[in-house]
Point group: C2
Chain length 472, copies 2
């Protein structure tokens, strides 16, 4: 327990940090993060009345979705699910936590980012890190050898969050996978087709799909003189090329992973090669797609065994641009703004779960939806169009007092007819406040009840935008 | 570590348990549970080759949803979301875990069932136990004083699972809540209306909505001589009346909670009273609804402050009937088969989060969807109709060899036109196996390509059910 005076001192200086950021008009996320620290300090101190002070925040790296964000999320999911269904996929769901040993040995160096549950007696559990390993567990457990399925759910990584860039500790993955022994390249090509369809439909601007193959990477590592037992760990370092300059990647290979300088330099030459690829274009039967073969694409996870791919948005300014990317080489024609989809072939993963090691070849793709949300939210804010958060079609209103019962009768009729309708939860609301609510929520119609209308057995219907009125 | 011989002995006897259950045609859940134990024992032993053996199972009290279950789940959710939207609700989402202290002091005795995350450095976190407390935290954090929102998400309780009865450790809640200072009873009545609409639409058979009020319960406790500081803990015991006979409830009150025998007996008299209630009927404006005022209804959670309600299915045989219920009093006209919805008013919860204690009155309802799923699954199994797990409209097939490229061209055209279509991932599949796939998956149409059709620039379209064919 720290000394009270010390905490008060810390609160004072943290308060200045927040004030400074605000005066500099720093990003909301940055300010929020510092405010959270301030609140935590204040909570340590406790209230003057001895009452416990809550820290009002969500867990680090997580966020709530407000109704506006949910409306955008629903739209994006509908696009993605529509594509998955168009391609004939079924869907499954798995629990948010798995037995700890189910996740052990699947993620290589990333395993340290797995959230474990506290041992409260019983099984040792961990939160899922992706949807691929639970999918493989599901296939092995149910002895399924053929399935095309999608799965949309949240996954958990104790990573360093960067919320402004759409990097969270709790985030959605939208996975599409094809399991089964099929003829070469046909399911793999469908996965690329799906990435192309979804990114085009979401209208996020130009994108590029990088393609590589783990077997080519392994061949390259062998040629460069990387020892066999270092293939996966060097692969994991190559994967950082989109976030770090080559010099730092090389340093990690040589200093941390113990690779020889010559081997690292040779890798450096190979990974700088990339270019168009006729084969991929032919497979996709689509001239518009920007598919490039890129030897620097490695993917961080251990379980890939064949083709790997990653889609990046190439239009600067649309997506949240990182500070590093902004300071990147000026020679590049466009700045890469981060991966929005990725995947590959993993033919060995299901066999790791099968007691007899029976393999089920799989290939799949995961849409990194959080960055898509960030972009869509920015677009919505920039646009003049208001995002509606309900679908209410009619507001049932009253012009005079004491009409609550009549209004409830009318709205019940509307609900029974499947019409989305609202009424204010007041006995005698003012007509003006009822109309204002319609304007604020974008409700297009208002049904106004009055003594005269009740006598005549009619309802006055007003179009909110034009104030046009008709009797029904 | 146990001795190898001991484990082998345990495996042998557990094997017999499983064989016995199978020969007795025990329920799938029961067999699965014993098989899981057997697998765990086998895993302890390890493979003969020293290779680690995985326990292929989901965590205790959780389950996967297969595609058929997902199809049913989607249908149920669409009904529920449709109702929430019809009533003009917005939706929000919150993270699956909260700061531990956010959940502290909200659930009374049930707090021991909260899942904690392991302390891996940083904040202390817990999995959400319901959606109500995160909702209250969200309102206080964002200073929202008026909202009508729904939230559908999984919650987590380390309870004793009873999977055959639809009781899981990970389960969905579908919550609808109205926050705000409004005129008495209007939002409360809408919550009851929503329960009625959803249970009617889901067509689960007869149901009854029990209504009570925490203030009446507290008054009753006072009259019976329960000390003030025992109100909540005695309330929590009364709540067990739907699972335990009165004798056991009384025993818990007297022996565990230290209540006097006289006070307990007086409570026993009150809670046996229930009956129709004109007021509720008038409020709901619906003669068909079975609303009863029931003094034995208490609800387990601490945070309710006013009206509370719970909906139970009353049609025996439709829902999974518990062993206890089957052994219940034969005099009852119908056997209660468990709660499918519940909720109430909680005017103090948001104030617990607000630094200044500002209150936001709330009332809400939670649909217990897992039992609904169980019933719907049983119905689907009993019915002859096949549940489709995809929405594929057309299968693109070939009558001859070497037509893969032509098929991919055609299916791309279909996909681009928004048509849900499938093709087999084989270069040269047999026509018969393509047609068989249509029958199995319920795909209504098949587009058959052949040399002749390609020459003529047409497609042969066959209706799978009737084998009728047309050229397009």
């Amino acid at each position: 327990m720290e000394d009270k005076a010390q905490i008060q001192e810390a609160i004072k200086s943290q308060g200045e940090v927040v004030r400074k950021l605000k005066s500099e008009k720093a990003s909301k996320d940055q300010i929020d993060e510092e405010v959270a620290k301030l609140l935590e300090l204040k909570a340590q101190l406790g209230g003057d009345d001895g009452k416990h002070q809550f820290v009002l925040k969500t867990a680090k790296g997580t966020r709530d979705y407000n109704p506006k964000q949910m409306a955008i999320r629903e739209k994006v999911f509908n696009t993605i699910i529509g594509c998955f269904k168009r391609h004939g996929a079924e869907t499954i769901d798995t629990p948010v936590f798995e037995l700890k040993e189910t996740l052990t040995g699947k993620y290589g160096e990333d395993s340290k980012l797995i959230y474990d549950l506290k041992d409260q007696g019983g099984e040792l559990l961990s939160l899922r890190y992706d949807l691929t390993v639970p999918f493989a567990r599901y296939l092995a457990m149910n002895k399924i050898t053929n399935i095309k399925r999608y799965h949309i759910a949240k996954v958990y990584r104790r990573d360093n969050p960067a919320m402004t860039r759409g990097r969270y500790r709790e985030f959605y993955q939208c996975d599409f996978d094809i399991a089964g022994q099929y003829d070469a390249m046909i399911p793999d090509a469908e996965c690329l087709k799906i990435v192309h369809e979804i990114l085009s439909e979401l209208d996020l601007g130009d994108f590029r799909i990088k393609v590589n193959d783990r077997r080519i990477l392994d061949g390259m590592f062998a040629v460069c003189g990387v020892p066999d037992d270092k293939f996966r760990t060097i692969c994991s370092t190559v994967d950082k090329l989109d976030k770090m300059p080559w010099e730092d990647v090389k340093k990690e290979m040589v200093n941390e992973k113990g690779l020889s300088e010559e081997a690292a330099d040779q890798i450096g030459e190979y990974v700088s090669m990339q270019g168009g690829m006729d084969l991929a274009e032919r497979l996709l039967q689509d001239q518009k797609i920007h598919v490039v073969f890129d030897l620097s694409l490695a993917r961080g996870l251990d379980y890939y065994t064949g083709i790997i791919y990653e889609a990046v948005l190439t239009q600067a300014g649309v997506a949240p641009v990182t500070a590093e990317a902004q300071n990147g080489a000026p020679g590049e024609e466009s700045v890469s703004v981060g991966s929005v989809a990725g995947g590959g072939r993993y033919d060995g993963l299901v066999g790791m779960f099968d007691p007899k090691g029976r393999k089920v070849p799989c290939v799949g793709v995961s849409i990194g939806i959080e960055r898509v949300f960030s972009i869509m939210e920015q677009k919505a804010e920039a646009s003049a169009e208001k995002v509606r958060t309900t679908e209410v079609q009619v507001m049932v209103a009253s012009a005079q007092k004491n009409l609550l019962e009549e209004k409830l009768k009318l709205i019940t009729e509307l609900w029974n007819a499947g019409i989305k309708a609202e009424v204010m939860y007041k006995k005698n609301p003012k007509l003006l406040s009822q109309l204002q609510h319609c304007e604020e929520s974008g409700i297009p119609l208002v049904a106004i009840l009055g003594e005269q209308e009740l006598k005549d057995g009619v309802v006055k219907l007003r179009v909110v935008a034009t104030r046009e009125e008709v009797h029904h």
